[in-house]
Structure formats: C-alpha cells, structure tokens
C-alpha cells in the first residue's frame, strides 16, 4: 500500500462538500415550481435550443413540439440560449399560453402552448443520481477511513467528479437559470474524470510498477516524471479542451462536439481509460498475493464493462445520446464501477476497508428510498391536491424535503439492520460479543474477573495477540495481568497521562509522534513497550481517578480497528474502568471497616485505662473527664499508685490512632516509673518520663499536669509540663492562673527536663481546674475558638465548690459553643477542691 501522506484531506473534503451541495442544488432546482413547457433540451448548447425530449402530457406535447425541433423564440422574443429562455419563461405563470417559434425540417413554425408545472426528472435520472451519490459516499468513506493515503484521496476525488458528472452533466437540461452553470460544472467534471481515473489506476492498489522501477534504479526520468506527472495528467484534458475551443473559434475549424465537449475530449477519455487500465494491469502483475490480484482484476473488469459501453456508445453512436437505448446500453452499466470497486475493496481488502460495501449499499438503498419517497410524495400531493394552491407553493417542496430529511435517519437505521443481518453476520456476531462482554463487566463485582475479561476475552474477540493490564500503585504502574515478557512496573508519566486524557480510546504507539519528540521519558517507555510487541494502549480512568492502562499487541489481521469497533472498545474500556474502580473501592471499604473495628477496640482499651473514680485523701475532692476528638485520642488522666494523692492528666501530640499509641506509651511509662521509684518525687518522675519519651524519637511530645497535696493536707502541689496553667477559683469567684515555673516544656521536647514542682495554699471551697488545650481550642461551627476568656468566664460563673459540677459546667459550655461539631482536639478536664 502506498504510504505517502499529503495534507490534502481538508481541501478534498471541502471540494466534496461543494460537489455534494451543487449536486443537491441541481436536483432541488429541478423540483422548484416554475412555469415549464415540458421540453428537455439537448446538451449541445453550441447548436441552439435543440429539443431532446418532450415530457408526456405537457404543453409542448399538446402543441406538437417534437424531439429534434429547435426552439428559436419564446414569448415573441428570439432566444439566444437556455438562460435567456429561462428568464423569459420566468416572466410567465403556470397556465399562461406562450407563443413559440420553432425550427423544424429547415422551416420556421409558430406554436402556441400552455405552460405547466416543471417536472423534468424521470426514472432514468433518479437512477443516475443514485449512482452519483453511491460513488460519492463510497469515496467519502474511503477517505474518512484512510485520510492520509494518497490512493484514498485520489479515489475520493474521482468519486466527487463522478457525482458531478452524473448529477450535473447528465441532468435533463431545461431552461433553468442554473442549467448553464450546472452543465458547465458537469462538463468540467467530465473533462477531469479521465485524469482522475488514470491517476487512481496508477496508484491502485499500490504503484508497484513504479516502485519496482524506482527500486531497480531503472528509468529514473520516467519515475521522476510519474512522481510529478499528476499535475500534467489533470492539466492535459483542460488544455485539449482549450485548444479545441481556440481552433474552432480562431481558425474557424469546427470539430464535432458531443455533449457540450469536443470529440477530442472523448477520445482523450478513451485513451486515458486504456492507459489507466494498462497501469492497473501492470500493478496487478507485480502483486504477489493472488487474493489481491483477484481484487484488481475485478476492478479492471468493472471499469472495462462499466465505463467502456458509455464511452463506446457516446463515440460511435452520438445520435443516440440521450435516448432510452443509450441509457440502457451506456449509462446503466456505469453502476458496475462503484459496485465492483466496493466489492473488490471489501472482499479483497484492497484498501483495508470493510465497511464500504455495507455503507455504500446502505446509502445507495437509502438514497433510492428517499428519492422514491420524495418522488412518491410529490406525485401523491400532485394527485391529491391537483387543484390546490399548496402544490404551486414554493414552500411545498421545501417542507416535503424537510420531512424526507427527518425520515432519512430512521430509514437508514432500518436498512442498516437488514444489511447487517443479511451480509455481515460475522461482524454482527463480533459486535454482539463485545456488547456481551460489556454487560458481563457491568455485572462483575470481582475485579479479578474484569481483569480476566480484559486480558483474555477481549483480545480473543478483537483479534489482538495479547493484552496486558497495569494498575496504578502509587507513583508507578504495576502489571496486574499479561505476558511475563512485559515489564513488571512502569513509571507514571505525566506527559503520557495528559496525552491519553485527551486522546481517549485506543492510542496507537505509532501515532504519538509529537509527544515522543516532546518527552524523552515517554519515548523511552514507548520504545520499551514496542520492543515487547505492544502496538497500542488505552487509558483506564474513571471520573474520580486514573486506574491504570491496558496494553494491546498488533492484530492478527493487518487491518486497523474500524470506527464502530473503536467506539465499542472505548465503551468497553469505560465499563472496565468502572468495574475495576468499584472493585477497588469495595476492597478499600473492607479495609476501612477492619481498621474501624480495630480502632473501636483500641478506644475501648483506652477507655479502660481511665480510672472510674479519682480520689485524694485528706478532705480533697476531685473530678475529671476526657473526650477524644476522634474515636481514640491522645488525652488521658490517671491516678498514680504512689503517692496516693497523685493525679496526672496528659495530652500527647497527635490525635486518633497515633495520639492514642503515644498516650498509651506515656501512661505506661508513668505507671512503670512510679512503681520502680523508691520514693516518688513528681519532678523526678517527670524527668525520667521525659527521658523515656524523648528516646522514642519522632518529635513526639506529651504535655502533662500533676496534682497532689502537701503532707499537711492544706496545700495543693502541682507540676505542669506543656499543659495550660491550671485555673484557681477563689471563694469570691475570682479566677486566676496558677503560677508556673519558667521551664514547663512538654515531655519529649528536650532531653533535659528540669521540671519543678510548685505548691499553693488553698482555702476550703476553693477550686483548681487543670485542662488540656483541647478546651480552649474547641471551635464553633463559624470557626471561632472557645478560648481562655470564655473558660475564665465559665469558671467564674460556676458558684460551686463541687469539682464534678465545675467539670460538667465547663463541658456543657464547650458543647454549647461547638454545637455538636467534632472537637478539634482531645479534651481533658481535672478539677480539684479542698473540702472544709
């Protein structure tokens, strides 16, 4: 296959669009309600307005106008040409009677005829139009499927020319204003058609003879010429036409014209056909595969028996041009060309396109149906509303055309279904299998089953040799399934991610040109994959996250995926992504549930560490409460075994599980040290605990507070390391912070503790409240802190000597402030009072 790429596709598509529009305009124009005499003109505009055909039951027929007559005058005006005649006729209305001057058998006759409603298209023209559109759609699909291929481009161009030639050039010529323009366009298409044929045959299915000469280094000038010959090939017919025109105009040598072109152009067409068929044969001879050779032979036969009769009939029997016999012998066989081309391309995969026959058949049948509907609709309306103004309305055909357009798609779908069932059972099975696979994936809860579908069933269905699945694990992709030859891990590359995000669906490695130039990492990765036999890859991603990547080898058959296959594959990959994501989420949820259960256990254990009751002997009362911000927390309070009045409350850095673990460690350290010490001196206890926590490393801090009583039982001894200063509520309601030494860093902050114990004399009824910073850091829904001021206020307002009540009041105030929001930090309160 020729692989040269030219960026002509947009231009060609535009040309095709124009050609399609012109053809449509030409056909639409034929149905516009205009006053019409019923004359179909011959195409040779140089020889006056020759009547080729008279429409039955028309005004012309009634007045006795006959084929072969020449219309000299209409409406008391001598007419120069068809557009002039059209202008005159447009000055009349349907039903008017008009005087004609007609030359017949060398004499002039005047006829008076009644103008009717225009209707010049007949069954044979509908056939021609269907043929033209069949050509066009076949060409369009070839181009769309293989846009970069020069052969496709030339084939498409040839099909567009065929469309114009058939629809415009073979249009039954009337006097319509656009007749001349349409016929000129048709003539231009006709002139260029032999060139397009020759050019196509030189390239199709590949320019083997040219390549052979090139490779052998033989006939270099010939090769050079043919490489650049196409411009000349297209210029030649125009030059011949111009020369013929110039000779006839300037030298007065008039050569015979046939169908608005000099007969030399016809001979050129015949020559180009012969040369083209020779090139085709030469290409076929150099093709090794007999399957391809058979395809080329079919194209050759299609051209010979499709075009041959038309050219021969036109050249040898010009007088029959436009007759029914010409239509049957010359025009009808033209259908062989698109049909044989399409069949050869499909059957023998000459252009690696298999949908063409399906599409061409589909569009031919649909076009025929739509055309039939249109014609039938018009005929029916004409019959039913013969005398109605509706039929004469200019809007009538437009509305009818819109209705047909609306009907087009449903009709096409139905036809598609029938054709698929009848001709493409294998394809239908493939599509069914892919749909089934998609449904199976949707139903899968087990990611392993989805993975199996992706790497085992999908390659089987689509004919890939293998597929592999890589799932994301952190910053790399891990091979979850696939051949062992492939790397176990692949790095996650941002450039590749962005590229795949944009280029959804299957991305061929050989279509990543610009990315490979931009990113050496991607280039390297692609190189590695290619060496392992990977030819394409597809992204697996859901809306929430990227899941991984599927790699595909080449297909067993050479053809790339077709459009509908690609769409199905994309849909399948989306379903696989969803299924995999669901599986992963399920897995994560299970792990989460297990973790939560363990945390609950931890919380229960932690709760058991907190004593149910605290007591300080010697007329002291104590109350405490602790609320973790999460299920488990880093705050605690406890009563040391020795001395009997010692109470410690703590707050470790971190919350939740990590906080809880450090809390447990601190709690355990305090208890074990207390047990180990002969005499428990709080400052010494804190120093030792500091050393142990500091030794844990990882910048873990534990803020502690200590309450005990003096030996006389009248003073409160306290030690604060990293905790907020405890508050003292005097009997008169004043609240003040207890004095603290300079060094009061939390445990674990510095290796050297140097903690200092303090004392304060308390009057009976006075209260001391120790608290962790979770109290002041509690936040309202608006984000405000509870703060020290509010705490002071609550303590001051609480006129009680009961530490339980004080703790309850403070907790109540915090709850009211946070209004049910989760605590920002664990919270601990310890209140102590001296009884009377």
């Amino acid at each position: 296959m020729e692989t040269r790429r030219l960026d002509l596709t947009p231009v060609l598509l535009l040309f095709g669009l124009l050609a399609f529009g012109l053809a449509g305009l030409s056909i639409t124009d034929m149905f516009l309600p205009r006053p019409y005499d019923g004359v179909v003109l011959g195409k040779d505009r140089g020889s006056g307005l020759k009547v080729r055909k008279v429409i039955p039951d028309s005004g012309a027929m009634s007045a006795g106008l006959q084929p072969g007559d020449e219309i000299v005058g209409i409406g008391r005006e001598v007419v120069r040409d068809a557009p002039h005649a059209a202008r005159i006729l447009n000055g009349y209305r349907i039903g008017d009677r008009v005087d004609y001057l007609v030359r017949r058998d060398g004499g002039l006759e005047e006829l008076n005829l009644e103008l009717g409603r225009r209707r010049i298209g007949d069954g044979s023209y509908f056939y021609i139009c269907s043929l033209g559109f069949a050509f066009f759609f076949v060409g369009l699909f070839v181009l769309v499927r293989q846009p970069g291929l020069l052969t496709s481009q030339v084939f498409y161009f040839m099909c567009c020319l065929f469309l114009l030639f058939l629809v415009c050039w073979m249009r039954p010529a009337s006097y319509s204003g656009i007749d001349a323009a349409v016929l000129s366009i048709g003539t231009s298409a006709f002139l260029l058609l032999p060139s397009a044929f020759l050019h196509f045959y030189m390239l199709f299915p590949r320019p083997a003879w040219l390549q052979e000469m090139d490779a052998a280094g033989r006939f270099r000038p010939v090769v050079w010429l043919f490489r650049r010959a196409w411009l000349w090939i297209y210029a030649l017919p125009l030059m011949v036409f111009a020369a013929s025109w110039a000779v006839s105009k300037l030298l007065g040598i008039r050569q015979p014209w046939l169908g608005d072109v000099p007969v030399t152009s016809w001979w050129l067409l015949a020559l180009a056909m012969m040369a083209g068929l020779w090139a085709l044969r030469a290409n076929a001879q150099r093709i090794d595969r007999s399957r391809e050779r058979r395809g080329v032979a079919l194209v050759l036969l299609g051209s010979l028996f499709g075009l041959g009769p038309f050219v021969v009939a036109s050249l040898l029997f010009p007088e029959k041009n436009g007759s029914q016999a010409f239509f049957v012998a010359g025009v009808m066989p033209l259908a062989l060309v698109p049909v044989t081309f399409a069949y050869a391309i499909v059957r023998f995969q000459l252009l690696d396109i298999r949908v063409i026959l399906r599409r061409s058949l589909l569009y031919t049948v649909t076009t025929a149906l739509v055309t039939g509907l249109y014609a039938g609709g018009i005929a029916m309306f004409n019959a039913v509303f013969r005398d109605s103004r509706l039929v004469a309305s200019g809007y009538f055909p437009i509305v009818l055309a819109l209705a047909i357009v609306l009907l087009f798609d449903p009709v096409r779908r139905r036809v598609q279904r029938v054709i698929d069932r009848g001709f493409f059972a294998e394809r239908a099975r493939l599509q069914r299998a892919m749909l089934d696979l998609g449904e199976a994936m949707n139903a899968q809860a087990d990611p392993a089953a989805v993975v199996r579908d992706l790497v085992e069933r999908l390659p089987q269905i689509l004919g890939f040799r293998f597929a592999a699945l890589y799932l994301r694990r952190g910053d790399r992709l891990e091979r979850t399934a696939g051949p062992a030859e492939l790397p176990l891990h692949l790095p996650v590359l941002k450039d590749l991610d962005h590229f795949l995000e944009r280029d959804s669906g299957l991305t061929r490695l050989d279509r990543m040109g610009s990315l490979l130039l931009r990113s050496p990492e991607v280039a390297h990765q692609v190189e590695v994959l290619r060496a392992s036999g990977v030819r394409a890859l597809a992204d697996l991603a859901s809306r929430r996250r990227r899941i991984g990547m599927v790699l595909f080898s080449g297909r067993r058959q050479a053809s790339p995926l077709e459009e509908d296959e690609s769409q199905l594959l994309q849909r399948l990959l989306d379903q696989a992504s969803l299924a995999l994501e669901t599986g992963l989420l399920l897995e994560e949820r299970t792990q989460q549930a297990e973790l939560e259960r363990e945390i609950e256990i931890a919380a229960s254990i932690q709760a058991q560490l907190l004593p149910d009751r605290l007591r300080i002997p010697g007329g002291w009362r104590v109350a405490a409460d602790c609320r973790p911000a999460r299920i488990v927390g880093g705050d605690f309070f406890t009563q040391l075994p020795r001395p009997a009045d010692a109470i410690v409350y703590g707050d470790v850095s971190g919350k939740s599980v990590s906080g809880a673990l450090v809390m447990m460690a601190a709690h355990e350290a305090l208890l074990s040290l207390t047990t180990a010490m002969d005499q428990v001196v709080p400052s010494r206890l804190f120093d030792l605990a500091n050393e142990r926590i500091y030794s844990l490393g990882g910048r873990r801090f534990v803020a502690l507070g200590y309450f005990g009583t003096s030996e006389d039982g009248k003073r409160l001894r306290y030690l604060v390391a990293g905790q907020p200063p405890p508050l003292l509520r005097r009997l008169d309601g004043r609240v003040e912070e207890l004095k603290l030494p300079d060094h009061r860093l939390p445990l674990g902050a510095m290796i050297d503790g140097r903690y200092q114990e303090m004392e304060i004399e308390m009057q009976p009824g006075e209260l001391v409240l120790g608290y962790s910073d979770g109290v002041t850091d509690a936040r309202s829904p608006e984000g405000d802190f509870f703060g020290e001021e509010r705490l002071f206020d609550v303590v001051a307002r609480t006129e009680t000597q009961d530490p339980d009540r004080l703790v309850a009041e403070v907790l109540g105030a915090v709850d009211a402030f946070t209004r049910g929001e989760l605590l920002y930090d664990d919270l601990t309160l310890v209140a102590v009072s001296r009884a009377d």
């Binding site: 001598v78 001057l101 060398g106 004499g107 002039l108 005047e110």
Partner: protein
C-alpha cells in the same frame, strides 16, 4: 482577543455586503438618462413616437411625429435629423433641414447625438467614404453601441454591399436577436441574392417578434408572391393591411400579386382599394396607380386600353417606362421605343457609377434594348442583352423581382428562338425553382402573338 477579531471581521463583511447591496439598488433604480437632448418633454414624446414608427417602417407616421417634435422644439436637432433622413436624397426639404443642423452647437448633446450628427452631416456633405470611416472608427472604440452598428449596417445596405451588410446585420442580431429591422434587412438581402428560404426565415422571425406590425407581413407577402405561393402571400398581405389599413406597400404588393397570378379581377379590386386608401394618395399622384392599371390591361390582353392608359400616366415623366417601350416596340414604333431607351440612358448617365441605382438603370436599359432587338428578330443579340440585364438585376423586393422574372421570361423566349433550347430549358428550370407557377400564369400576350407570327 481572537473572538473580538472574529466579530470585527464579521461586522466588516456584513457592512461591505450591505453597502454593496445598497449601492447596487441605488444604481439599478436610477433613471437612465434620455439619449436625446430637448427642452420640451412633449417634443421628446413625439420624437420617441416617431422612432417607434420608424422601427416599424411606418415612415409617413414617423414624418408626422418628427415634424410635431420639431414644432414643439425647433432646436431639437435629432428630430430635425430624423425628419431630414425621411426625405429622399436630393429632396430640397432634406437639404434645408440638414443645413439647419450644420450650425447646431454640439455642446450639451449626448454622445449618441454627436456621432449621429457628425456622420450624417459628413455624408450629406457628399463625403460618404469619410462618414463611413468616421462611423467605423467610432465603433472600434465602442463595439457594443448597437445603434451605431445599426447605422453602419444601413450604410452598407444603402451601398448595396450585400456581403458587408449581411455580415454587419448578422453581428447585430448576435448582440440583439430581437432587433427587427436587422431581421427585415437580412431577409431582403437574402431575397436579393435568391436565398429565399433564408429570407423567409428572417421574415418569419420578424413576424414572430413583431406580430402587431404590418411590415413583416408585407415583406413576407412579397417574398411569398415571388415564390408563387400566392394564397399564403394573399393572407400575409391581408394580415398586413389588417394591422395597418393604410399600409400602401401592402396594397401595391396585392396588386402585383394579383397580376402575377393572372387574377385580373383581384387586381382590379386591389387597385381600387389602393386608390381608395386615403394615406396612399401620393401613389396616385405619382402615377403608380395609373401604371398598375395599364399593366393590368396589358397583361389581360386589353392592349388598346393599356396603350391609352400609359399615354396619360406620368405625362411629364423623365424616366423610361417598360410598358410604353414594350408596346411601342411590339407595335413596330421603334422610334418611340428608342426614345424610351434614350430616357433610360439618360437616367443611367445621370447616376454616379458608385450609386447602387446605376446597376438597375443599366439593367433597365439593357432590357429595353433587348426587347427592341427581340422584336427585330435578332434573337442572339437580344438574348445577349437580356442576359446582361439579368446579371445586373436581383430579387430585391417584389417590384424588382418581377422585373427580373419578366426579363428572364423574354430571355427564355429569345433563347428558344435562337435555337439554344438547352440554355432556355436550364433558365426555365431556374425560374421555376424561384416560382413554379410564374411561367404558367404570367402569360405575355405580345410574346404569344410574336410566337404566333406577329403582334
């Protein structure tokens, strides 16, 4: 930013299109300026009416309208010019009118008026070639000026340069296929050259384009008369008169048709109608009607009556009469016949040899001499003279065509008498190809008498 440019471009395009449409609308609704310069709208109206009549060959009506236009605006140069052109060359009135134009200030005139004036004044000054050169030069600069081309074609036409006139008119109808005067002229040129089918096609086209005009029916009637299709000719002439009852050319053609068809009663009626048509009084005055009656009598074999009539017709005439000469010659009054020939010779001598009329005058002289020689029994010499006359003559118009056929009739007689039966037969076939009924219907009593041994 890109969007802004897009909008600017769109607005620019829309503005350009709108301005273009508005400009075109203004241009197309603008009244075309009148090509004729006059300060009087009524004079312009009358002038336009005159041109309309002119285009239909209604010359007398055109004269009336141009005169009226000139009365309304005595300084209307184009009315003066067109009125002058409707008078024959040499007519003092034409000279007077043209002289009035010589002093006209061309400033403020339209381009068309200026070239018309220049051309016709030059021509009137006798410099026909100079006028023609001027017109050709003007057309080189403006090849699409149809009226100038029509004038040039008229110049060729007047010079009876049929080839040039034919090419010129064809070019004109390529540009304007509905220019009826060109169709008419092409018909007459074809008729003059004996291409009767082609002439008929032009006249039919003319009739098709202008079915409300009398001229195409009249022209077609003449042609059909020449071709011997008398019934069709009669219908066509009848239609011409139905279109315009005072169309004198059609009346005259009807008389000639009846005479050709030997329908003498019909001829009488036609002559009566002609005489009774108010607009055709000038034909009576000029003696044409009298001539027709004399011919009618002659062809009907009423020689005496014919002789009396020609004696009173155009008593002070200065040109030769075929009938007077013929009756004189046949009656043996050779001196009278020679006197007629002298008149013909005088007419020939007074005609410039470049004047197309010279050929006709020469043909008349040769014919007269041929007839006299025939009476003398010198068949060979007579045939030679009549052959020469035949070569100089053509079928332009019914009157001239009748003369040509009449001359050929005499020639056939002479050839037969001279024993040149083959040539006589060939000529007979030629005449029959033109008019298969002519030799059968058009029987000359004097020739029959001569054939019988004496007149």
């Amino acid at each position: 930013m890109r969007k802004t440019w897009w909008w600017i471009s769109m607005v620019g395009v829309a503005t350009t299109v709108a301005l273009g449409v508005a400009g075109y609308a203004l241009w197309s609704f603008q009244d075309e300026p009148a090509p004729w310069t006059t300060r009087s709208p009524k004079a312009l109206e009358a002038f336009d009416e005159g041109i309309w009549n002119l285009s239909r060959f209604y010359f007398r009506d055109a004269v009336v309208q141009f005169e009226r236009a000139l009365e309304l605006d005595p300084d209307f140069p184009m009315a003066r010019l067109h009125l002058a052109l409707l008078h024959e060359e040499g007519d003092p009135e034409r000279d007077r009118l043209m002289e009035g134009l010589a002093t006209v200030n061309a400033e403020g005139m339209t381009e068309m008026e200026r070239w018309l004036l220049t051309y016709w004044l030059t021509r009137h000054g006798g410099d026909v070639e100079g006028a023609r050169t001027f017109l050709v030069g003007y057309l080189e600069g403006r090849p699409d000026d149809a009226y100038a081309r029509f004038t040039l074609c008229g110049d060729r036409w007047m010079a009876q340069d049929w080839d040039a006139a034919d090419a010129c008119y064809r070019k004109l109808i390529e540009m304007h296929p509905n220019w009826v005067l060109a169709q008419s002229r092409l018909g007459y040129i074809a008729m003059a050259r004996g291409r009767f089918d082609e002439a008929e096609e032009h006249f039919l086209t003319y009739r098709y384009i202008a079915p409300d005009q009398a001229a195409p029916y009249g022209s077609l009637g003449q042609l059909l008369t020449i071709r011997g299709r008398y019934d069709e000719a009669r219908d066509s002439l009848g239609e011409a008169l139905a279109q315009k009852g005072d169309y004198c050319e059609a009346h005259v053609s009807r008389v000639r048709l009846s005479l050709m068809a030997a329908d003498f009663d019909g001829a009488d009626q036609a002559i009566d109608q002609l005489e009774g048509t108010p607009g055709c009084g000038f034909l009576v005055e000029r003696g044409y009607v009298c001539d027709l009656r004399a011919w009618r009598a002659y062809l009907a074999g009423r020689t005496g009556e014919a002789r009396k009539r020609v004696a009173v017709c155009r008593q002070d005439r200065s040109f030769a009469s075929l009938l007077i000469h013929r009756m004189a010659a046949m009656g043996g009054d050779l001196a009278a016949a020679e006197a007629e020939e002298a008149l013909a010779a005088e007419a020939l001598a007074s005609t410039d040899e470049t004047d197309p009329a010279a050929l006709l005058n020469e043909a008349i002289l040769l014919h007269l001499q041929g007839v006299r020689t025939m009476v003398l029994g010198d068949w060979g010499k007579a045939a030679e003279l009549l052959e020469s006359a035949d070569r100089l003559n053509n079928y332009w118009g019914l009157e001239r065509a009748i003369f040509k056929l009449f001359n050929r009739l005499n020639l056939i007689y002479c050839l037969e008498r001279a024993g040149r039966d083959g040539e006589a037969e060939a000529l007979r076939e030629q005449v029959e190809a033109v008019n298969p009924r002519y030799l059968e219907d058009y029987r000359l009593p004097d020739l029959e008498a001569l054939a019988g041994g004496g007149w």
